[in-house]
């Protein structure tokens, strides 16, 4: 039998869990310790934010919250590789990427605190906000990428999905379309091994999720998602490729969801402690910090200072969040359409009357 097509999936890594380099030379950005420190600082900020958000939820000051604990390298790596004019289509926990792009922590809190004004965030005005219906945002990214291509703009669309999300038809449809149109898109799969209680092996028979790109007819790459150097490097590679008209890439970032799925979840119901402990040893902050210390770009004093700075910054953001009052009842109606139809004008008036009477 003749072989008519053949494919390989490669794995990319620079930093192992111990912070040792597994490959040289380093990509250009990683040769600048200042840049690495900048990324490390953002990873630390996200982690402080995360702890704080969970505390707020536990004390009834925030709604259900989706933690990003353990995903910091993947998220910050994505954010750091993108340009402001690129467009970002996140799922619901990519705060690291969003902070890098200008979204403020209190805006994230507003969203999970039940206030749409979190979506009017300080990031690029064209970025989409959090997408809860899994995989649907992949289509939006494909559409944005198509717009960029048609307008001959050197911009790329970046979408993120989880391992569970790769079971959705929308995921494949947009990959296939991106291949067919050769779109300037970068599709990231954050493989954190779990989709709530469903482990990867129950989700798919695939050995890698990067191989799903084969069905789209383009390149899929697997990267150590806890290695921020590898993530950013792979993202830059894919973004360059996209912006220069060479088509889409699927990047599978291997990481682990150390936290519960959300604050509404209890992961002890369905997974053992051992794998979580193991994941904690491989988590992304340890290794970059070790590496930075090894190259004398970081030390204990700087670390202490950073911790204090992050705490202060997040406290200020929490205050901003808490000081934001309830949105006006009219805001439910005012943005439904550019031109409000009569029926909504009536309902808006009724809702105002209702609020005045009963609060």
């Amino acid at each position: 039998m003749k072989t008519v097509a053949a494919f390989e999936i490669k794995f990319r890594q620079y930093l192992d869990p111990q912070g040792k380099l597994t490959q040289k030379p380093l990509p250009r950005f990683a040769q600048d310790p200042g840049e690495l420190v900048k990324m490390y600082r953002m990873m630390s900020l996200v982690r402080v934010f995360d702890t704080k958000a969970i505390a707020l939820q536990r004390t009834g000051q925030l709604g259900t919250y989706a933690s990003s604990l353990g995903h910091e390298a993947t998220h910050v790596g994505i954010g750091a590789a993108m340009k402001p004019e690129d467009a970002f289509f996140p799922m619901y926990r990519e705060y690291g990427a969003q902070f890098w792009r200008g979204v403020q922590p209190h805006e994230v809190l507003l969203f999970w605190g039940g206030d749409e004004r979190g979506n009017v965030f300080s990031g690029p005005k064209h970025d989409f906000s959090w997408c809860v219906p899994i995989a649907t945002q992949y289509h939006h990214a494909a559409g944005a990428a198509l717009a960029f291509k048609l307008r001959r703009e050197k911009r790329a669309a970046v979408a993120v999905i989880g391992d569970g999300g790769t079971s959705q038809g929308d995921f494949y449809e947009s990959l296939n379309a991106a291949g067919a149109y050769q779109l300037p898109a970068v599709f990231v799969v954050t493989n954190n091994k779990w989709a709530i209680s469903v482990p990867l092996a129950a989700q798919t028979a695939c050995e890698t999720l990067a191989q799903k790109a084969v069905a789209g007819g383009f390149e899929g790459v697997q990267v150590d998602g806890n290695d921020i150097i590898a993530v950013r490097d792979t993202m830059e590679y894919a973004l360059d490729k996209a912006r220069s008209g060479k088509g889409p890439t699927l990047i599978e970032a291997l990481t682990y969801r150390i936290s519960d799925h959300t604050t509404a979840d209890d992961a002890t119901r369905y997974r053992g402690k051992d794998e979580v402990e193991d994941a904690k040893r491989k988590e992304p902050l340890i290794r970059i910090r070790k590496y930075l210390m090894d190259i004398d770009a970081w030390d204990q004093k700087k670390e202490e200072q950073l911790v204090a700075e992050c705490a202060a910054q997040i406290d200020a953001e929490v205050k901003l969040y808490k000081d934001t009052g309830k949105p006006p009842v009219t805001s439910m109606f005012d943005h439904m359409f550019a031109n409000l139809p009569e029926s909504l004008v009536e309902q808006r008036a009724a809702a105002i009357a209702e609020e005045e009477q009963h609060g």
């Binding site: 709604g63 999970w112 039940g114 899994i134 469903v198 805001s331 439910m332 909504l344």
Partner: protein, 325 residues
């Protein structure tokens, strides 16, 4: 007898059918070891095994479509959609296949499946977790839509839905999952489909509602009873097809009708109730039919959720309006 919350009564109904009918299987996202995110399938996989209670890949169209295939081959799948806002990928399979396989094959194949899903708001859930979408399914020929409003009705109606040889969309008001426990006898006794339940009798005004809003409606009725107003409260229960006999009989008696639902007003199921009553009982009506409903906006994030949902006060006001006429 155990006092059960509605979500427990739902678990109990599935357990009963899993126990008594080998054709029944439960499937959905996280329904296995996790027992469902609302715990509606709590303990079922542990008790009945992984081949009767199955986690699925994360794909709602698949869940619906695979259920159709299983059902046509003689099984009775009870599929769960995890949250109300994620049911839309099933629409294609439900309207194009589930609802028509029996009629297009003139009875050769049929689809004894249940599509369970949470419904409605009021629990401060995240975006897309609080939608009311019964009207979408109610408009689909060949599909029954059922919404329970108490533990006993949840138990009896879910048994009926699983046993029914045709597809049933079973929408469970999450707001009622854990309040108002009731004694629920685990006797395998189903309640009838296609039948309303009169929850309270009264001669002055008919209140028709379903799902979680039954709660506010009953409270409004109790409030008005203090003022001497007799409200007849009817729970649609089967939202499609509607048992109009019971409703028309009541309206003929009371001459007044208020419909309460949480879904957006425009083209909601309330419109069908109002329209049919206005067609068949217009001469009995002593006042315009009143609808107290959600607004024509998506369920807002939870800081405004309370403002979206019809409150007891809004229901009372609606009743007063029809009484004034």
């Amino acid at each position: 007898m155990a006092k059960l919350a509605m979500v427990e009564a739902i678990t109990q109904a599935m357990a009963y059918e899993l126990e008594h009918d080998p054709a029944v299987v439960v499937l959905g996202e996280d329904v296995g070891i996790n027992g469902g995110v609302f715990r509606a399938t709590n303990g079922l996989q542990q008790r009945f095994g992984k081949e009767r209670v199955m986690d699925t890949p994360l794909a709602e169209a698949l869940i619906a479509g695979m259920s159709i295939g299983m059902a046509a081959m003689g099984m009775k799948p009870v599929a769960e959609i995890q949250f109300s806002g994620f049911i839309y990928p099933t629409v294609d399979q439900m309207i194009n296949h589930a609802g028509r396989l029996r009629t297009r094959t003139r009875g050769r194949l049929h689809v004894p499946m249940v599509l369970r899903a949470p419904s409605g708001g009021g629990i401060h859930a995240p975006e897309h977790h609080s939608e009311s979408n019964e009207a979408l399914f109610a408009h689909m020929p060949g599909i029954r839509v059922v919404m329970p409003s108490s533990p006993t009705r949840a138990y009896g109606l879910l048994l009926a839905a699983i046993r029914d040889p045709d597809p049933v969309v079973f929408l469970e008001p999450t707001r009622l999952y854990r309040i108002n426990k009731q004694e629920v006898e685990d006797n395998g006794q189903a309640l009838p489909l296609d039948t309303c339940f009169v929850l309270r009798e009264g001669g002055d005004v008919t209140l028709v509602s379903w799902g979680a809003m039954i709660h506010e409606t009953l409270q409004a009725a109790a409030k008005l009873a203090d003022e001497g107003v007799g409200c007849e409260v009817i729970d649609l229960a089967t939202v499609s097809p509607i048992d109009f006999e019971t409703i028309l009989e009541s309206v003929e008696k009371t001459g007044r009708l208020v419909i309460v639902h949480e879904a957006p007003r425009n083209c909601g199921v309330g419109a069908e109730v109002a329209a049919t009553v206005a067609e068949k009982a217009i001469y009995s009506l002593q006042a315009p039919v009143e609808r107290v409903t959600g607004y024509d906006v998506p369920m807002p994030l939870f800081k405004l959720e309370h403002d979206y949902m019809p409150s007891v006060e809004r229901v009372v006001k609606g009743i007063r309006r029809v009484l004034e006429n």
